[in-house]
């Protein structure tokens, strides 16, 4: 049974000890070793050492494949000397054919394991924790599998495209693939960039450590004060849709959307802050997503690293494929420029979104979820001009705050409907919830006190509202300037009162403890 989660006391103690030992290490290599040992220790208590063998095996695989590809390309470098760029192209293509086999081998194995586990989950294969107990109908679910599989595929593809140089030091690569802040639920990092950072681990900086710790506590606040108050209530409500009034279901959907944002972005604050304190900069995964004015913009602000991964390794390779380009060229000639443009965007976008759905889960509900977002984003991109013309026809002033707010509310509704598709766990989930909302409105439940009888009493409800107001304020400020730098400029007393208030609010209002079982982060399950 895993006991280490990012918001557990165990993790706080583990990280404190690790940070102190790390900071007193005099040289870079010792710092890196401390991190590697920390990674193993973390994984042992978060996912189990048995599952770690899968992670180590996949690291050996990408290490071997990347060096193999580098060796093949070395032949090209020798032959290409003295040739013009244009002459190099066919030569490079012939070498690429050879390296492609290695790439395919690596990707095939990595994806094979991921698909086996995902399909196994869908078919309810028996779950085991040990490799020797594995059989066809038994699966092991290694912690963070879908995250490190994606990073690994990206690494191999970058080496194949010669965008990244493979790492020759196995232990450095292993430090990256097992890096404890990213292993459970991302951000889906690029190993080549992470490797570079481990090679140049910086010296102690008070500012960086302080900023990292601030960000970690901010994450604890979002997760334990807000998300963990709401999630158990909405989960219970979705499990029993017909027992609640329509208006209560609306609140449950809104609450669930807020909770998942607080849960996931809170986790990202914890892990990005932890890495920052260690001197490693991770990619951001959120940029105030609910301030987005369209579905496409939302996905450039929500789970950014997943979107970037799909753009770089699925969307672009399909869109740039010479055969596909030829197809779109033909479509353009035959049916006009407009059709060609829509076709060239729609096909790769739909593939990306179906795969994004399947990445989140293998049920019909997730397939529908992917399709839903795909259609929304294709409509937005293909009919951009027409959509922009609507407010003009309605004589709406698009430059006002009111209009921007309307767009943000629309984004929230788009996301909420998306959540409803997967909330209950069956294909017709969204119809069940919508049905209940419209059939059993019962508005009076808002005022007769029954709202507070579903697991969140009046006091806790107010804690959530105040917490949300604080997060909203910080989000607004963060969109304008670096909040932590601004705090640095304040007088010492003010700063420490603020730090203390943050820590104490988590200690006093946070939901934690042994009896509480909803602690695990929602995105850890993917």
């Amino acid at each position: 049974m895993p006991i280490m989660t990012y918001n557990s006391l165990f993790f706080v103690l583990f990280f404190t000890v690790l940070l102190i030992v790390y900071l007193i290490m005099p040289v870079r290599i010792l710092k890196q070793i401390v991190i590697l040992i920390g990674n193993f220790y973390f994984y042992k208590y978060a996912g189990g050492l048995n599952c770690m063998s899968v992670l180590i095996a996949s690291t050996i695989l990408i290490y071997g494949c990347s060096l193999w590809m580098e060796r093949i390309y070395a032949g090209f470098e020798r032959e290409a000397e003295g040739l013009s760029r244009k002459e190099q192209v066919p030569l490079l293509n012939s070498y690429k054919k050879k390296t492609k086999r290695v790439l395919f081998l690596g990707v095939f194995i990595l994806l094979g394991v991921l698909i086996y586990v995902k399909v196994g989950k869908l078919l309810h294969f028996e779950e085991v924790a040990r490799i020797r107990e594995l059989s066809f109908k038994k699966i092991m679910i290694p912690l963070g599998l879908s995250y490190y599989t994606f990073s690994s595929i990206g690494y191999l593809a970058d080496v194949y495209w010669r965008k990244a140089k493979p790492e020759h030091n196995f232990l450095t690569l292993l430090t990256c693939t097992t890096f404890f802040p990213t292993i459970v639920q991302g951000p889906i990092g690029r190993y080549d960039r992470l490797v570079q950072q481990f090679r140049e681990l910086p010296k102690f900086s008070y500012e960086r450590v302080c900023h990292g710790l601030q960000r970690m506590w901010w994450g604890f606040f979002k997760k334990s004060v807000i998300a963990d108050r709401i999630t158990p209530v909405t989960t219970a409500m979705f499990a029993d849709v017909f027992s609640y009034a329509g208006v209560e279901m609306v609140l449950a959907v809104i609450g669930n959307v807020i909770a998942i944002y607080m849960d996931f972005s809170g986790c990202m604050d914890i892990v990005i802050g932890a890495a920052e304190a260690l001197g490693v900069t991770l990619d951001e995964n959120f940029r105030q997503p609910f301030f987005a004015k369209s579905a496409a913009e939302f996905w450039r602000r929500w789970h950014i690293t997943l979107g970037t991964w799909f753009k770089d390794y699925v969307y672009m390779p399909i869109a740039m494929n010479p055969r596909f380009m030829k197809m779109t060229g033909n479509a353009r000639k035959r049916f006009g420029a407009r059709f060609g443009k829509v076709f060239s965007a729609a096909i790769p976008l739909m593939i990306v979104w179906i795969l994004t759905g399947l990445w989140h889960g293998t049920g019909k509900d997730y397939l529908l979820w992917g399709f839903y977002w795909g259609v929304l984003i294709i409509i937005e991109t293909a009919f951009d001009k027409e959509l922009k013309a609507i407010p003009k026809k309605l004589h709406m002033r698009t430059e006002t705050f009111g209009y921007a707010l309307l767009q943000m509310i629309r984004t929230f509704i788009f996301f909420a409907i998306g959540r409803m598709i997967t909330a209950v766990g069956v294909g017709r989930s969204v119809f069940l919830i919508f049905g209940q909302i419209f059939r059993e409105k019962r508005l009076y439940t808002l005022f007769d006190g029954s709202l507070y009888s579903h697991g969140l009493d009046e006091k806790n409800f107010h804690v959530v509202l105040i917490g949300l107001a604080v997060v909203w304020l910080v989000d607004i400020l963060s969109a304008r300037f670096d909040v932590r730098k601004k705090i640095d400029e304040q007088p010492l007393v003010f700063r420490w009162v603020l730090y203390l208030a943050l820590v104490m609010s988590v200690v006093i209002f946070g939901i934690y403890g042994k009896a509480y079982d909803a602690k695990a982060f929602v995105y850890g399950g993917f």
Partner: protein, 74 residues
């Protein structure tokens, strides 16, 4: 070369001012959809097949950068 590229791009994407910045991709003026369209238009115009590794933001941040990368393969 630069003039030719500018001419093609202005025709295909009249709503975008390609000379407004040197960070067209980084500052969000060009999204991935538009970059794909640009590559498709320029590749067929100059009869060049751009290797995938050249498709990085730096090569599409300005018309100068685009001219440079396409010239390499002509």
């Amino acid at each position: 070369m630069k003039e030719k590229i500018l001419e093609i791009l202005s025709e295909t994407y009249p709503e975008i001012d390609f000379e407004s910045s040197d960070e067209l991709v980084d500052d969000g003026t060009l999204d991935s959809l538009t970059v794909v369209g640009i590559i498709s238009a320029l590749s067929s115009e100059f009869d060049v097949e751009l290797p995938y590794e050249e498709i990085i933001p730096e090569n599409f941040n300005s018309v100068d950068a685009m001219a440079e990368v396409f010239e390499k393969y002509m």
